[in-house]
Subunit: 198 residues, 2 copies
DNA sequence: GTCTATATCGGGATAGAC
DNA sequence: GTCTATCCCGATATAGAC
């Protein structure tokens, strides 16, 4: 795995964490260098510019997201249960989300405000989740509605993450998860809309 | 109104807009000064520090939010219709949200990452909406559920705003608004849970 | 590959004239 | 109240020794 060995990988890992906790722009080279335990000068041997590090961080996030979704795909055969696994992230990662929000949503928004060229790559992480969720609904028999349902699940996660970060209320998160599970069950019980109704 | 006249008010207005569009930390004094048309030096006659401007911006947002909610309270007698008015913000302000996200959610998250002392005041804007929405549901006969329903509406708005900013998809926004309206109608038709069921 | 030293720039903040 | 000039610091980035 490209995580522990190699100075370059260590830099990317530290930057990945710091960009999440402090934001991209607010994170200085000094902070990253200190976290890794190297000097600032050594830094530029591995990356020419700060944007290069951001690019590497986003690629790592894309890669680890693909790996996680592949794991879920392998470990769970029921698509509905896979969707529930995704929904559960807001509880599994509840502590980090309370402190820093969703890593995907907060980075894409920061890059949007900075009008940063890397924004589309950050949105690509969202696309991974969106496509994966849509595939689950397609496996459950939905067709044209699948993407709409996927986006609704994504919106749920972003809304919960933002308010969890603002209010630090675990009971709110649990209530919303329960509510979405109920909605999902009803949606699955009703099944896809017949073609004649579209 | 404290909006157009007075250099101080102009500074706050420009900062308010720029903090929204570019983020708080990324907005420089030079940018604000240029937007207002004054020199950087003059700046410090009105505000001692950048955090002071942030404080003033947040107070203005609190004030304008209170005014907006009071208007809605006055202009619309049906609490359900008032809630729908709030839900409609994601369409009314759709263009700005696509470009910059929700002003409340994005600022609170940025301040959380900066570990900024003004974060609680920024969250207070969320609290205004939360309390106002809860009051509407209370007027509709809900009691203990009112706050839960209010938070669900807030979560909706944040989820839609974040994904609207990421994907720039108006049709997604409209679908989610329609979905929430349906949910709201069903919720109101069912009425509050009887006390015996709690 | 890693370090120290340094260049360069932009940001917040101050002093003082008008 | 508004301006110009300036200070100070932190941040990105470079040069070059080891």
């Amino acid at each position: 795995m490209a995580g522990s060995t190699g100075t370059r990988a260590q830099i990317v890992d530290a930057a990945n964490r710091l960009f999440y906790e402090q934001g991209f722009e607010h994170t200085s080279f000094a902070a990253i260098a200190q976290a890794v335990g190297i000097s600032r000068g050594n830094f530029y041997h591995h990356f020419k510019t700060k944007d290069d590090i951001l690019g590497a961080v986003i690629e790592v996030r894309l890669q680890s997201t693909r790996a996680m979704l592949a794991d879920w795909q392998r470990d769970e055969s029921d698509p509905a249960e896979r969707v529930r696994r995704f929904v559960g992230i807001v509880i599994t990662n509840g502590a980090d989300i309370q402190d820093f929000g969703c890593p995907v949503g907060t980075l894409t928004n920061e890059l949007a405000k900075l009008d940063h060229p890397a924004r589309p790559r950050a949105v690509a992480v969202f696309d991974l989740f969106r496509t994966w969720l849509r595939t689950q609904f397609e496996e459950l028999g939905f067709s044209v509605e699948a993407d709409d349902l996927a986006m609704h699940i994504l919106a749920f996660s972003q809304g919960v993450a933002t308010l969890s970060n603002a209010f630090h209320d675990e009971r709110f998160v649990q209530r919303e998860v329960d509510r979405l599970h109920t909605w999902l069950d009803e949606r699955l019980a009703a099944g896809p809309a017949p073609r004649s109704m579209r």
